[in-house]
């Protein structure tokens, strides 16, 4: 399954880069995230709870390993998620470019989905992936705005 697209955030690139490495921010942005923690050098582990169509919501263990970091421009995420209903694993690349409106993120994920969720959730999988991605980006966008506002307020002190 390919999930790709782009989103433009209001803030400057270095600020966005920092936020994207912060497990607290990521936990807020990630739909269904129950826990997320930095457990090693560039390795995040946690638990998310997601359902797909006829597959009832279930908990999935999640490991994300960041690699090929080129600060503040790009990185790769190796995603490995497992649960009672199947697995998702694959690689996502993230590129950050400076644009007039702020920072443009381009993402491209190539994920394989297996097990029960692939067998019965197929016709909804793409839609669910798009929906979750949008939810995640919207949440991240909100977080960026909040941080920027906080920084601005802090800077005014």
């Amino acid at each position: 399954m390919i999930v790709d697209g782009e989103h433009t955030f209001p803030g400057p690139r270095p600020a966005l880069w920092t936020l994207l490495q912060d497990p607290e921010v990521l936990a807020k942005a990630m739909p269904g995230a129950r826990r997320l923690a930095l457990t090693g050098d560039g390795v995040y582990t946690g638990v998310i709870r997601i359902g797909v169509g006829p597959v009832t919501a279930a908990e999935w263990s999640l490991t994300v390993r960041l690699a090929d970091l080129v600060e503040p421009a790009s990185y790769t995420m190796h995603v490995d998620s497992k649960g009672a209903l199947g697995f998702t694993r694959g690689t996502a690349t993230v590129n950050l470019d400076e644009v007039d409106e702020g920072t443009r993120m381009r993402y491209h994920a190539d994920l394989s989905v297996g097990g029960k969720v692939a067998g019965v959730g197929q016709r909804l999988l793409d839609q669910v992936a798009k929906m979750l991605t949008k939810q995640g980006l919207d949440a991240l966008n909100k977080e960026v705005e909040a941080r920027l506002a906080a920084d601005a307020a802090g800077g005014a002190e």
Binding site: P54, K82, A84, S112, K116, A118, G119, V120, Q122, R123
Partner: protein
């Protein structure tokens, strides 16, 4: 003298129990203290299994045990090779049968990893979700051709290759045939997977009786006796200590053959270990992943013909997907190889196949069992040749049929029964003419023209096939007249809706002159009858039916002899009459069967030396060869070229299964087979992605044809008696589904003559047909065949 029982359609003996909800199915078995099982299954198509952590599952209240491969000890053995490969020169066969629980390697999604046993199924399912499987994914093997490339990942490292088998069979000289040919056509054909989709999923219940030292297993198997024998061997028991009961079963269609599925061998083992009854019933999800399937094949086929449309030779290379394991040997591809020849005279044939291991669910026979692939290839080649030669589809078939005077006819290639492919009898051309008459050979073209004027596209297809049925090795039956006067018949087959309780009763009633309703048939219980093979290959009626006939004939002789003695006559002076034996010249001197059975089993006096007590006999039947059923299917479709939706308007079957025991049961078999075939042609397809993940594992996405999609089949029966069994029987269980894809393809093309549409794959679907229609150019742009053009 015919009493009219065979050949009639009395009310079925089993219907009362079925319709009143009193038939026992395996899931109806409830035993005190019974435990329930859920399986932890692989999410991966191909992976290295690193560890299985069952601690959380074991901690869940109500969980009794969680079994992994390591805990099975010596009981962990790959399953038996169920059908060894035939003795064909140069044959390569690499065996890798399924394992009870995966140990190091996961080879398909749904492969069992651990068995959770708990006080209820709910607890077992929850605990199964607690089990943590750590596995490292490996590159999957999905593409049949890529699987055999040198750098392909290998499923079974001990084999060093994904090649499961390589088989070449031929007769005549194909190269010579090509040299003398006016037309040579070659094409690539694809035939993809489908599920058997029986209404009842698999189920197993096992109980170990410690005091009786007896294991009872209720199993949805088509072959209870081989399962009993295998379980006894594996568990170190006498065969007589194991009773396997296959009660009423809601459809078999092949995958319930004696598979020794993981669940089938683990549930009895657990019942013995735990000393409590254990039950597992498959859910539909599991069925999609863990019950065997059919039928991916790719054929590169070539046909050489003379200008007048006579087949000179055929060459076919094909790849057969055997899935992750190959416990059923080569039955499916051998059936494809042999059935391709059909009812036709093919002077030269070269057929070569490679069976390939892939990371998909194991392939074993599903109704048709590979025959439909061969028929599809042959009938498509004939259709293409007919178009090139300007012949009608029926005419090219007519010109190539084996003549009715060539039987028995032997081809020099080996069939699934290890004997040369043998046609015992047949008469093909009249079936074709009969089918054309039913369709309306004059009226259909007029209808087609009229509809086209209204902007509607009607098409017709007509194809032929043969089906090798009724193969050995043998079946048996025991017939007993009880003191009540009722007759008890026991046979070793399993039954899954074929009407055995009635058809066998009819055969026995015919011999003994009793009412069909007074004959009580029992099948599928090894305690009742312990010798036999199973229900497969359209063989039940032919082989077990012949054994019933033989046993009843012996009982009839005993009745005549014993009756004559009591009536003070000689055996040739008495006759049977409606459950009595009487003196023909003086019918007032008569004795009923019940009373006679009492006399035959005296409490005092002596049984005459050299005779046996009772009115009972056991007999076996094993034919030298199967019997060759055949038929013609025709179909009328309406195609909407804009939506690519196809409506099947009419379906005609002219079928020859020899002597009919029960025409209504035969009609039911054909109608059901056609429904299966229509599903296979236009609705049902198991779609795997390149990672070996099944994409449509539910009936929301896997489309079964509904009653609205399957017309009532217009049927005509021909009865060319089989010479190798006493009643002239041939099998009919698979006939309905074998040529359906081929006739569908021809009918759809016929509906759209303005397009250069050529269907080379089955299953189709509306969306796939839409693509084919979009890509098909106008018929006028079809290139002329170079072989003919150059001539």
């Amino acid at each position: 003298m015919s009493r009219g029982h065979v050949g009639s359609s009395p009310p079925r003996n089993e219907d009362h129990r079925l319709l009143t909800g009193n038939a026992l199915f395996v899931d109806d078995v409830h035993l005190e203290g019974m435990l329930h099982v859920a399986f932890v299954r692989s999410d991966y198509a191909h992976a290295q299994l690193l560890s299985v952590d069952t601690s959380a599952a074991l901690a869940r209240p109500g969980v009794v045990a969680v079994i992994t491969a390591d805990m099975l000890g010596d009981y962990w053995q790959p399953g038996p090779l169920l059908v060894p490969p035939p003795p064909i020169d140069g044959l390569v066969f690499n065996q890798a049968s399924q394992v009870p629980l995966a140990k190091d390697r996961l080879r398909h999604v749904g492969e069992a990893i651990a068995m959770v046993i708990a006080e209820s199924r709910y607890i077992a399912e929850d605990a199964a979700a607690d089990v943590i499987v750590d596995a490292e994914p490996l590159d999957p093997v999905v593409d049949l051709e890529a699987a055999l490339l040198p750098d392909a990942p290998v499923l079974h490292p001990q084999l060093g290759t994904n090649l499961a088998a390589h088989v070449v069979q031929k007769h005549g000289d194909y190269e010579d045939a090509v040299l003398g040919a006016d037309l040579v056509i070659n094409r690539r054909f694809h035939y993809d997977r489908g599920a058997a989709a029986a209404m009842e999923n698999r189920a197993v219940v096992a109980r170990w009786d410690t005091r009786a030292e007896e294991l009872t297993v209720w199993d949805t198997t088509q072959a209870p006796i081989p399962i009993r024998n295998g379980l006894a061997r594996m568990l170190g028991l006498l065969e007589s200590q194991v009773r396997v009961v296959a009660p009423y079963v809601g459809g078999g269609f092949g995958p319930k053959i004696m598979m020794f599925y993981p669940e089938e061998v683990l549930v009895p083992w657990a019942a013995m270990r735990l000393g409590r009854p254990v039950k597992w019933a498959e859910d539909r999800q599991e069925n999609f992943f863990a019950t065997t399937q059919e039928r991916s094949q790719i054929h590169d086929a070539e046909m050489a013909l003379s200008r007048d449309g006579k087949i000179l030779g055929i060459r076919d290379f094909f790849w057969h997907d055997t899935g992750a394991y190959d416990p059923y040997g080569l039955t499916v591809p051998i059936n494809s190889q042999c059935t391709l020849l059909g009812p036709y005279d093919v002077p030269a044939y070269h057929s070569e196949f490679r069976a390939v291991f892939t990371n998909r669910t194991t392939v074993t026979p599903v109704r048709g069992a590979g025959r439909q692939h061969g028929v599809f290839v042959m009938e498509r080649l004939l259709d293409i040749a007919a178009r090139e030669l300007g012949l009608a589809p029926d005419e090219i078939r007519r010109r190539n049929y084996l003549r009715s005077d060539v039987f028995p006819h032997t081809f020099q290639i080996l069939f699934q029964d290890f004997a040369p492919l043998y046609y015992d009898s047949g008469n093909y051309a009249p079936a074709l003419e009969a089918a054309l008459d039913i369709v309306g050979r004059e009226t259909f073209p007029a209808l087609q023209e009229q509809m086209r004027a209204e902007g509607r596209y009607f098409g017709m297809g007509i194809v032929s096939y043969v089906e090798g049925t009724g193969i050995g090795p043998y079946e048996g039956a025991r017939v007993t007249i009880e003191p009540s006067g009722r007759v008890r018949v026991a046979t070793g087959l399993g039954t899954q809706g074929q009407g055995h309780y009635t058809a066998f009763a009819q055969i026995v009633a015919e011999v003994l002159d009793v009412n069909v309703g007074d004959v009580n048939v029992v099948t599928g219980d090894t305690r009742e009858f312990g010798w036999g093979t199973g229900t497969f290959a359209s063989r039940g009626a032919v082989v077990a039916g012949s054994a019933c006939h033989e046993a009843a004939t012996i009982v009839r002789r005993k009745v005549m002899e014993h009756g004559a003695r009591i009536l003070g006559a000689t055996p040739d002076e008495v006759e049977l009459h409606h459950g009595t034996v009487r003196v023909a010249a003086d019918p007032s001197r008569a004795i009923g069967f019940g009373q006679l059975a009492g006399h035959a089993n005296p409490l005092r006096g002596a049984v005459i030396p050299g005779t046996e007590p009772g009115l009972e006999a056991t007999a076996y039947f094993g034919p030298d060869h199967g019997s060759t059923a055949s038929g013609v299917h025709a179909m009328v479709v309406e195609v909407d070229p804009e939506t690519a939706m196809v409506r099947i308007d009419r379906y005609i079957v002219v079928h020859d299964c020899g002597k009919l025991i029960n025409p209504v049961i035969v009609a039911g078999q054909v109608q059901g087979g056609v429904a299966h075939g229509i599903g296979n042609a236009f609705y049902e397809q198991l779609v795997y992605d390149e990672g070996g993940q099944l994409q449509n594992a539910s009936f929301a996405d896997y489309l079964l044809p509904t009653a609205l999609d399957v017309p009532r089949v217009e049927m005509a029966h021909r009865e060319t008696a089989a010479p190798l069994n006493p009643l002239g029987l041939k099998g009919v269980g698979e006939a309905g589904c074998i040529p359906t894809g081929a006739v569908f393809a021809q009918a759809v093309e016929n509906a759209l003559p303005h397009l250069a549409l050529e269907i080379q794959e089955i299953p189709l679907s509306p969306s796939r047909l839409f693509e084919l229609l979009r890509d098909a150019g106008p018929a006028s742009a079809r290139p002329a065949d170079p072989a003919l053009a150059a001539d």
